[in-house]
């Protein structure tokens, strides 16, 4: 049974998310309609004669007042219709559903690397502050964080795909490999479900380099935050007591030092998911990854307004959900909030 204050938190947060996403939609809608100049002309083509542009304007509903446009647009979105993409000439919703799972696959693999790597490195560094493992981790972390994800992408591609042809230089599947039948939209999952292990392995092999490029920065950031949390905890009185009790190192570090430090680290991981999502826009371009982010970039370069708005909204939804889940986890893990109602 969910406790009342947890339920209240969920409801309050849910309302907040809806409100914010609505606000976001207004913002991005206004930006997309007001700033670019003349969307009708862009849709019709630069050299189209004026009357074609006027026709296009009527067709896209751009002759109506802004708030009416917004209401139309919003009601469509709530039905799941994001409008028409002037670039792909398809429904934007269709495009999103097509490409989103591909990016999500990449993001999941990235997060696995980022979180696991971050925890391992962070704990090692935090257990021996200012000694050799910590110093090595900190220096490596600085460099990894300072190098933008797209630079990582280019370098990794250069080293491991072109100079040493270990990994493929791009794409999700090798040419000539037929994609699996579409069940969920997740290539790797679909290939597993339909028994095509070879496709699964091929897709996995293609995922490694982009995922590594994306994850290095956030992996090191997670490691740093965990490490500094552990060092903070180490100075606390109760850790002095663990030392005075003569508890062995593994108990002190992995149990008593890690748990208090893990909680701010988990909060930081939500931010790293956001960073990875944004960096995906660049990394997918470098690796020609047929995902949602690359679709977004194409839309942005071509002023495909409906697609741009859709992309921003989808990113906003995913980010809000990720933050919400992380906050719930933290609420659960921290005994002070979890047991708050049971104080003597």
């Amino acid at each position: 049974m969910i406790r009342t204050d947890v339920a209240k938190f969920i409801i309050k947060r849910g309302c907040s998310i809806v409100f914010i996403l609505l606000g976001l939609s207004v913002l991005i809608f206004v930006l997309a309609r007001v700033l670019p100049g003349d969307p009708a002309r862009m849709a019709a083509g630069w050299s189209a004669p004026d009357w074609v542009v006027e026709e296009m304007r009527k067709k896209l509903g751009l002759d109506k007042p802004l708030h009416i446009q917004y209401i139309y647009w919003l009601s469509n979105v709530l039905k799941g219709d994001f409008g028409f993409s002037i670039y792909t000439k398809r429904s934007v919703t269709y495009d999103v559903l097509q490409y989103l799972p591909i990016t999500l696959e990449l993001l999941i693999v990235t997060e696995i690397f980022s979180i696991l790597g971050g925890i391992i490195l962070g704990v090692i560094a935090g257990t021996f502050p200012y000694k050799l493992p910590d110093n090595v981790v900190r220096v490596v972390a600085y460099i990894a964080i300072s190098m933008p994800a797209f630079v990582w992408a280019i370098i990794l591609q250069l080293l491991f795909a072109r100079i040493l042809p270990i990994f493929p230089a791009g794409g999700q599947l090798s040419p000539g490999v037929t994609p699996p039948p579409r069940i969920t939209g997740f290539t790797m999952l679909d290939s597993l479900i339909s028994g095509r292990i070879d496709v699964f392995l091929d897709a996995l092999w293609h995922t490694i380099l982009p995922a590594l490029s994306l994850s290095f920065g956030s992996m090191m950031q997670n490691a740093r935050i965990l490490r500094s949390g552990m060092v903070d905890i180490k100075g606390k009185q109760y850790m002095l007591l663990s030392e005075a009790l003569g508890l062995p190192l593994r108990l002190k570090a992995f149990k008593y030092q890690f748990k208090p430090a893990a909680i701010p680290a988990i909060t930081a991981m939500a931010m790293s998911i956001g960073a990875d999502m944004s960096n995906a826009f660049l990394v997918e371009v470098v690796y020609n990854w047929p995902g949602f982010s690359r679709y977004g970039i194409t839309a942005m370069l071509n002023k495909d307004l409906n697609a741009i708005v859709a992309v921003v909204l989808v990113v906003g939804i995913i980010y809000a959900i990720a933050n919400f889940v992380v906050d719930l986890i933290v609420l659960y893990l921290d005994p002070r909030t979890r047991y708050a109602s049971h104080t003597t």
Partner: protein, 341 residues
């Protein structure tokens, strides 16, 4: 400077003390320089003897206790000295020897029960882990959960915790200050088979609870015949508890005597000031005014560190460190103004 090892045993045989601190000097490296907090501290504690350490805030009492168990922060520096416990120099002992002593010989109670327990784990976890690595249970043998539970409950009952089962199952923030301190005492007792270090154990508690905890400590210590170093800044606590008292000022031991002798015949100006400041039943306020001065540990005075505040300070006091003078048997004080009796 040698402190004569004076035995308390009347048969004249000189028995080796359980704990012997020799010429200990400890400081910290800070952004303003290196502080020299403890200056040539000498102290000894016999088996089963209860010793009090009194001084004001910042005098180095906690530093002293933490140095014994070697739980100092990384910016601490032990300049010189020896801490010999049961024949082992704790300052130079190897980690496994030190851990052995921490697990089964010396226990410590911290001042603030609020921060002493890890808020993320239940009392049960912390107590069980402490027991697993103590002398109570052989850590090589597979430890049974039932045995751990029984032992924990027994310990909690010994520190007069009602409803021990519920306490075990609680998180520290669910317990009151007094209860938490009792848990800390229980934890310390799993280790303290020889020596108990108590760093102002009642200072942060409600006044009504203070006496309860103190009485509890006294009973437990007497029952187990433990040696104790009780640190406090309130004199009254020591009377009726400890056998001998060390008075520390600014990292220097200024006087040491049996409890009765110290209260009846204080010699060092600081000790006298301490005793006179305590309000009496007669309602008189006999305290002399002492100007307040914050001690500068980075550049301490070359001589007696109390000379900065002492109303009787002479130039010699400020430049030369006075030696310990024997006032009477077992009673020593360090001041140029005293003459040998």
């Amino acid at each position: 400077m040698v402190l004569k090892t004076f035995s308390l045993k009347s048969d004249g045989d000189s028995v080796e003390p359980l704990l012997r601190i020799k010429n200990l000097s400890v400081g910290y490296k800070t952004h303003e320089g290196v502080t020299k907090v403890l200056d040539n501290v000498n102290m000894y504690v016999y088996r089963g003897e209860k010793v009090g350490l009194i001084g004001e805030s910042g005098a180095g009492k906690t530093t002293l206790l933490n140095t014994i168990l070697r739980i100092l922060p990384p910016n601490a520096r032990v300049f010189r000295g020896e801490i010999v416990f049961n024949g082992v120099d704790l300052l130079r002992a190897k980690k496994n020897v030190l851990d052995d002593i921490r697990r089964s010989r010396i226990g410590i109670i911290f001042q603030d029960p609020m921060s002493a327990l890890n808020p993320f784990f239940k009392v049960r976890d912390q107590l069980y882990d402490a027991l697993r690595y103590s002398k109570f249970l052989d850590k090589n043998k597979k430890v049974d959960e039932k045995v751990l539970k029984e032992t924990s409950l027994k310990m909690l009952k010994e520190v007069a915790l009602p409803d021990a089962e519920r306490v075990l199952d609680s998180f520290p923030f669910q317990l009151s200050g007094g209860m938490r301190q009792r848990v800390c005492i229980a934890l310390a007792l799993t280790r303290a088979n020889d020596l108990l270090l108590a760093d102002e154990p009642t200072t942060n508690l409600d006044v009504t609870i203070q006496e309860q905890i103190l009485n509890l400590l006294r009973d437990l210590v007497n029952k187990r015949k433990l040696a104790v170093i009780l640190v406090t800044h309130a004199l009254g606590m020591l009377k009726g508890f400890v056998d001998r008292i060390y008075v520390i000022y600014a990292g220097q031991i200024v006087e040491v005597a049996n409890t009765n002798k110290l209260f009846s015949n204080p010699q060092h100006p600081y000790t006298r000031f301490l005793l006179e400041s305590a309000p009496r039943l007669t309602g008189e306020w006999r305290a002399k005014e002492l100007p307040e001065r914050i001690i500068n540990y980075i550049n301490p005075p070359k001589g007696c560190r109390f000379s900065v505040r002492c109303p009787y300070a002479t130039d010699r006091c400020k430049t030369e460190k006075p030696q310990m003078i024997e006032i009477s048997s077992g009673h020593f004080a360090r001041c140029w103004l005293l003459r040998k009796v």
